[in-house]
């Protein structure tokens, strides 16, 4: 069960991403962070803190639940429905550049659902994708704009991101067996 990122590595990666965001967008005007539930949300909040430290400006931050937009919701005739949680976006996304934040980018299906969900809230000026880990094996034409770590994996491995706010510690672990 190799640890592929420890707490230091995660925090350095997020700090680097924060600087890249400022550089690429020439500041943080018009930006907003939206974390995909569950683990995208604390990552988005950490990035908001870093952006504040770098620029002195607050970036609005929200949480997006994509359950109702999943493409596998009604694929099975029978089976328990996944848990739906609240989406909290307390600002207008119209004409803003949205930084969509998730922990792991894999098939791209979650990101597709998140894009559909976001666009129901308005018409953003643009959407950029931030992920802590890109593990490959895309099934849709989706690419991240900011990546914490590119991690070559095989489909029978699973990537577990653990975060202090939810799991009590910061680490990314590569496990054998079971899709993530």
């Amino acid at each position: 069960m190799p640890v592929v990122m420890d707490a230091d590595r995660i925090s350095r990666s997020l700090a680097r991403i924060a600087h890249e965001i400022v550089e690429r967008n020439k500041g943080v005007n018009e930006l907003a962070l939206v974390g995909v539930r569950t683990r995208g949300v604390p990552i988005a909040k950490r990035l908001a803190r870093s952006l504040r430290e770098i620029t002195g400006h607050d970036v609005p931050t929200g949480a997006l639940d994509i359950t109702l937009y999943r493409d596998d919701l009604m694929r099975h005739a029978v089976g328990p429905q996944p848990l739906v949680r609240r989406t909290e976006i307390q600002f207008s996304i119209d004409d803003r550049k949205i930084l969509l934040v998730d922990d792991v980018l894999y098939t791209g299906r979650t990101t597709r659902a998140a894009l559909d969900a976001l666009i129901d809230y308005g018409r953003p000026k643009g959407i950029q994708l931030i992920v802590l880990v890109d593990r490959g094996h895309r099934e849709l034409p989706i690419k991240a704009d900011y990546v914490g770590k590119n991690l070559p994996t095989s489909p029978d491995e699973s990537v577990q991101v653990r975060l202090l706010e939810i799991d009590g510690q910061d680490e990314v672990v590569l496990e054998q067996g079971g899709a993530s």
């Binding site: 949300v41 109702l68 937009y69 005739a77 029978v78 996944p82 989406t87 909290e88």
Partner: protein
């Protein structure tokens, strides 16, 4: 921002409804009730968006089969279905083959031949939903059956109370009115007692059903005792259309003895909530000043009904776990 992070840490005790149908509150555990209410919170947010629609039930067909008049419940279900992107079909008694003498079972089997996924049923006979549940493959949602149950009303009442009071456990809830004919009462007392609330029911002795005490509620015919120190006062409509005997002398006398007036309301807690499942008879069970007053959450109940019904439709769309996948 901090509230969101504490909320995402908590995983509920139950994460799915493992039932084919929603026939009554009887069949739900406290954990399942909590799951419906939590899911309804997420659904309520959908109704605040510029585009009030999510694709969750795309391709599902829901039949709203209403054998009794209804404005609130039927429109509420229909809006809930549309917000989840289901295809909906409304069948009302006047325009259906029922007027030609078709039985409920035959109507249901014929509808079922067209492969709907869910049937929302309102019927004047208690147990009509149970009958359909046995003969239909579709999920059956009880939208009120006779004097038996009205589970989505109880769930939306609980949601509305929880929204204001944060929790149901420990609250004193007074339910006053036509207890005998009320399916809302039967669903509500089961839900509220399961969630740990203390329920006191009140009405004329002729309208207190004999079986009500077995649910662990107290009963009185003194309205002041019921209202005293109550956190929630829920009024039930006097259902003249279901009354065949003389249960009390006159509507005017009913109002004088049991009607909820501002004066009586002063006996309750200072942050009391006034609820009514509708339709209201102003000047019978409730005074207009109370219905429109600051303590009234009657219109919040209606608004919350859509979110709660979305939650029920969504959760039931998964089906029962133990069923064979077809």
């Amino acid at each position: 921002m901090t509230t969101a992070s504490s909320e995402i840490d908590q995983k509920p005790a139950v994460t799915a409804l493992r039932h084919k149908d929603l026939l009554g509150i009887t069949d739900l555990t406290p954990e399942e009730i909590a799951l419906v209410l939590d899911t309804a919170e997420a659904m309520k947010e959908v109704g605040t968006r510029p585009i009030k629609k999510v694709p969750a039930l795309r391709g599902k067909t829901v039949v709203n089969l209403f054998f009794e008049p209804s404005t609130r419940t039927r429109t509420s279900f229909e809006i809930a279905e549309k917000r989840l992107s289901a295809d909906t079909l409304n069948i009302a008694i006047g325009t259906s083959s029922v007027v030609k003498g078709e039985t409920l079972a035959d109507t249901a089997l014929n509808l079922e031949a067209m492969s709907p996924d869910m049937i929302v049923l309102r019927h004047s006979s208690s147990g009509a939903c149970h009958l359909l549940s046995r003969i239909c493959r579709s999920a059956i949602i009880n939208a009120g059956d006779g004097m038996h149950e009205h589970p989505t009303q109880a769930l939306l009442d609980a949601f509305t109370i929880r929204e204001r009071k944060k929790q149901l456990a420990g609250l004193k809830v007074a339910i006053i009115g036509d207890l005998l004919h009320s399916r809302v009462l039967r669903s509500n007392i089961q839900l509220l007692t399961k969630m740990g609330a203390k329920v006191c029911v009140c009405g004329p002795p002729t309208l207190i059903p004999t079986d009500v005490l077995r649910f662990g509620v107290s009963a009185t015919s003194v309205v002041e005792d019921a209202v005293a120190e109550a956190d929630v006062v829920m009024l039930l409509r006097i259902q003249l259309e279901r009354m065949e005997g003389a249960y009390f002398p006159s509507l005017r006398e009913y109002f004088r003895v049991f009607g909820m007036t501002e004066e009586r309301l002063r006996l309750a807690k200072s942050d009391v909530m006034i609820m009514h499942p509708g339709p209201m008879n102003r000047g019978v069970e409730i005074a207009s000043e109370v219905a429109d007053g600051p303590y009234s959450v009657i219109l919040d109940q209606v608004a919350n009904g859509v979110a709660v019904r979305m939650a029920v439709l969504y959760l039931l769309a998964g089906g029962a776990e133990h069923e064979d996948a077809a």
